[in-house]
Subunit: 519 residues, 2 copies
């Protein structure tokens, strides 16, 4: 058998090489990258530092600043150049919780799981107050309650009284068969944004109105949360001119439904709470953090291959999967390449962005400063020197392929780049778009920008923006695989003769996440 089979295998290998004859891949270097990650991975250390040690990384808040400092130091220790924080413009205020205590006090005592919504006020002191049920969060319903609202803890009636089912697994992986057929994912269009932003701003204004009527606090919950997991984000009050609303607390779905049943029963339900939040006004500037491995080819070293993800997080967890994971992987990819002593022809630059959760602000600001503004499409000279930007921000799942973002010209290149990693599960190439994260900022000014396809694991079901977005919900093996593949992609992009082919320049328009008002 062996004698017969060998020539067939050789022929197939030759055929495969011919098909991508134009795209050379340095298989020796691919193996070195795999070996470095397999034998000397620093993923657990980086992950522990970014999550446990820094704590929550809400933009412009102490944990975010700890992360910027820690990463700057790490980059320097690794020997990266041109590293450090880089201001991108005005973000607004930082915010953190200094104390958060919420409990059911009447008709009996029980501690409750609760987290303050970011950029809301605290209660000033410990309070004990009755819970009141509002039919709908609007000014008419607030007015209907009148003076009854004063000093009360408000909750808004929900009609959705069943927990999400536990009969399906919370953590899943993609079947191989779907990878090449991945549809557009996380895409929002201008119309959706223009519909969505006024709603959010309207809710924000209603909470200010509720505050003006003397309500003590507002309780919230998320219909998909269960088991002690709750999803918490923030208000617009990070931005200058936006006042902080009354204390808003997210509690478990189970407690929310219990309180609703009890208040509906006309029981005397009282909560005890002590919530102290702090705003940071000292520096409203937003920062990213960057670092480079300098290019070595005299003709190409002014060209750049970029990789990144957002560093900021929400605050009830430690932003492990959103988007510690992306930062950990991109940092580890840089470490692998630096440790291997690669001499890239183009410069390799990592950018970890702030303010993503409020509207991709950090990456958009960076692009605007360096490459141009999509609104008028007046591009800066550096725009033409960025070969590609690679992003990671869909949780802790390993890389299963890549979204082409409708750039069909890169298909065969990426096919060749993925081939050495087929045995690690990364085989998918889909022409679709994926949205809602920082590659959009680059894509908007015509720079080839890509987000990888990642196994979903429990990202959408459990960790995304939740109090369970912490180290122990990371899949370390998945992150190792992703770092290996990202290092390879970045290396290939830095070494090939040509930059990556580009799509036609988009029409000038407002950047998709740019709005008149913050949200």
């Amino acid at each position: 058998m062996r004698k017969i089979m060998l020539p067939v295998v050789a022929m197939l290998l030759l055929l495969s090489t011919m098909l991508h004859a134009q795209e050379k891949v340095d298989m020796g270097m691919m193996q070195k990258i795999k070996d470095e990650e397999k034998n000397n991975s620093q993923i657990t250390t980086i992950a522990h530092n970014i999550t446990d040690v820094c704590g929550p990384r809400l933009t412009n808040s102490p944990g975010y600043k700890r992360a910027i400092d820690l990463i700057t130091k790490t980059f320097r220790d690794w020997g990266l150049v041109n590293t450090g924080p880089e201001a991108w413009g005005e973000f607004g205020r930082g915010w953190s919780t200094e104390k958060s205590y919420v409990a059911l006090k009447q008709p009996y005592y029980q501690p409750m799981i609760a987290y303050p919504v970011a950029w809301t006020n605290g209660t000033k002191k410990q309070i004990t107050a009755p819970v009141i049920l509002l039919d709908k969060l609007d000014s008419a319903n607030i007015d209907k309650l009148g003076a009854d609202l004063k000093g009360k803890i408000v909750m808004v009636k929900t009609a959705n009284i069943n927990l999400r089912s536990a009969a399906k697994a919370y953590s899943t992986r993609y079947e191989d068969s779907v990878l090449n057929k991945m549809p557009d994912t996380y895409m929002l269009n201008r119309k959706q944004i223009d519909y969505f932003v006024p709603l959010v701003n309207n809710e924000y204004k209603t909470t200010l109105y509720l505050q003006s009527k003397g309500a003590a606090a507002l309780l919230k919950s998320n219909s998909s949360g269960r088991d002690g997991t709750i999803t918490v984000d923030g208000t617009s009050a990070y931005a200058k001119g936006y006042d902080a609303p009354l204390p808003e607390l997210v509690i478990t779905r189970e407690d929310y439904l219990r309180l609703q049943r009890m208040v509906t029963d006309k029981e005397n339900v009282q909560l005890e709470m002590d919530v102290q939040n702090k705003f940071y006004d000292d520096d409203l500037t937003g920062y990213n953090v960057v670092g480079e491995i300098a290019g070595t080819d005299p003709n190409l070293k002014n060209q750049v291959v970029m990789l990144g993800g957002h560093l900021d997080s929400w605050h009830s967890g430690t932003g492990a999967t959103d988007n510690g994971a992306g930062c950990i992987v991109m940092m580890e990819a840089m470490r692998i390449l630096k440790t291997l002593g690669v001499q890239p022809r183009r410069t390799i630059r990592i950018g970890l962005w702030g303010g993503e959760e409020q509207g991709l602000y950090g990456s958009f600001g960076y692009v605007k400063n360096h490459y141009g503004d999509p609104k008028d499409m007046k591009l800066k000279p550096e725009q033409k020197d960025v070969s590609a930007y690679f992003n990671l921000d869909n949780g802790s799942g390993k890389i299963r392929g890549i979204f082409l973002q409708n750039n069909e010209a890169v298909r065969d290149i990426f096919k060749a780049w993925l081939e050495p990693f087929a045995d690690m599960g990364a085989t998918g190439i889909t022409s679709s778009n994926t949205g809602s994260t920082d590659h959009l900022s680059f894509d908007a000014v015509g720079i080839p920008a890509f987000q990888f396809i990642q196994d979903p694991l429990e990202y959408e079901t459990r960790t995304h923006h939740s109090n369970m977005d912490n180290y122990d919900h990371l899949s370390i093996d998945d992150l190792k695989q992703a770092a290996t593949i990202v290092a390879a992609f970045v290396y290939n992009a830095a070494m090939r003769d040509e930059m990556l082919p580009r799509k036609p320049l988009p029409q000038p328009e407002r950047f998709i996440f740019e709005t008149d008002t913050p949200f």
Copy 2:
């Protein structure tokens, strides 16, 4: 086809009737029971009252007393007779939490999910203290730390650093095919108990030693907990002569592992906590609650058919699936029968038990008072008048069949009784034993006592003894099905000419859960 098939179906039906010719089932009444539950179910009301309204029902604690009062009133409202609390002997002290606040204070602030272990002390006042890691919870390791322990929050090193997988569904149901082959379940033998109790008592004594050395608190976690769900039980300090140990707090697995990583890293980790617990010494007596529908056959009304489950719960949830579910179903079965105005030949008696979680104390005490002590097998005259005891205590899952508890003589009877409910999924009869709950107290003195087979749902994986054991984790449809079937079983047992056949009387021995020391 139809003409040919019909006689075959008729023949099969006839055959089926003949096989159980000796066991008559009143199919009209079965239908009435089904209809009453389908059209007028009170399951949601009872469930809401037992869980949300009463709160946690830790034995001899305020929530347990609220439940006894509420159920007594409910039974009276329904027209049950001989109802009310019934003392069974000395249990010990009640206990409740009046305040429970735990947060990470250094190196950054974040609130933590935590619940005090029952029958432990509080912190007296709010404290901020460093966390220290003990290699093992024993006196040698405590001595090794010496004066370093004073004022510290202690945690014990765990080697198990991975979360339970989320790749399997948390809520499951049995395949039909396994129902007749269910193995022995939840069974503990004397050897296991005699091994287990000294371990528990040793841990208890070690915590007293830790307290004597001045440690501020002990942190615990459960290796199977995740997502914000934590499992909390209690110490032996409910019993007279057992001192309360230092504050013990159960925290999430995620926080526990985070703290362990940070303390191992030699970071300065400090927690802020304020835990106020209260002991209730005013009445050490343990109580069950009972109620009856009186028998009407002059020759049989002194005989009794019993149904029940334990009413007490742990305290971090509201004991919805353990064992609110069993109480709700048994109460609803009584309500169905009373509402239908059945005239049972035998007396039907419901008993809801206390102190089950500490060792089946309430049911055992009841049996000892009324029917005899398994230690000497000196039986009281009433023992011979109990036809059967039916128990429910395996969560919120619907009834899929019944454990015969090795009493093969009842197999054909139960087969006939289950037949009208095959379309509701209850088809399984297994000769196996199931343990760890109150039917054992009856079984131990020779009374036919049975636990139903129930779909597992998320009982073992999520709710059992956890902070998620609350109303919203009940499956209302499953409880309705169970109430229907229990009402039918109890009715059948009360109406048939003979009592249920008995197994030979067991040999005198210590009751399985009876130990020299509480645990």
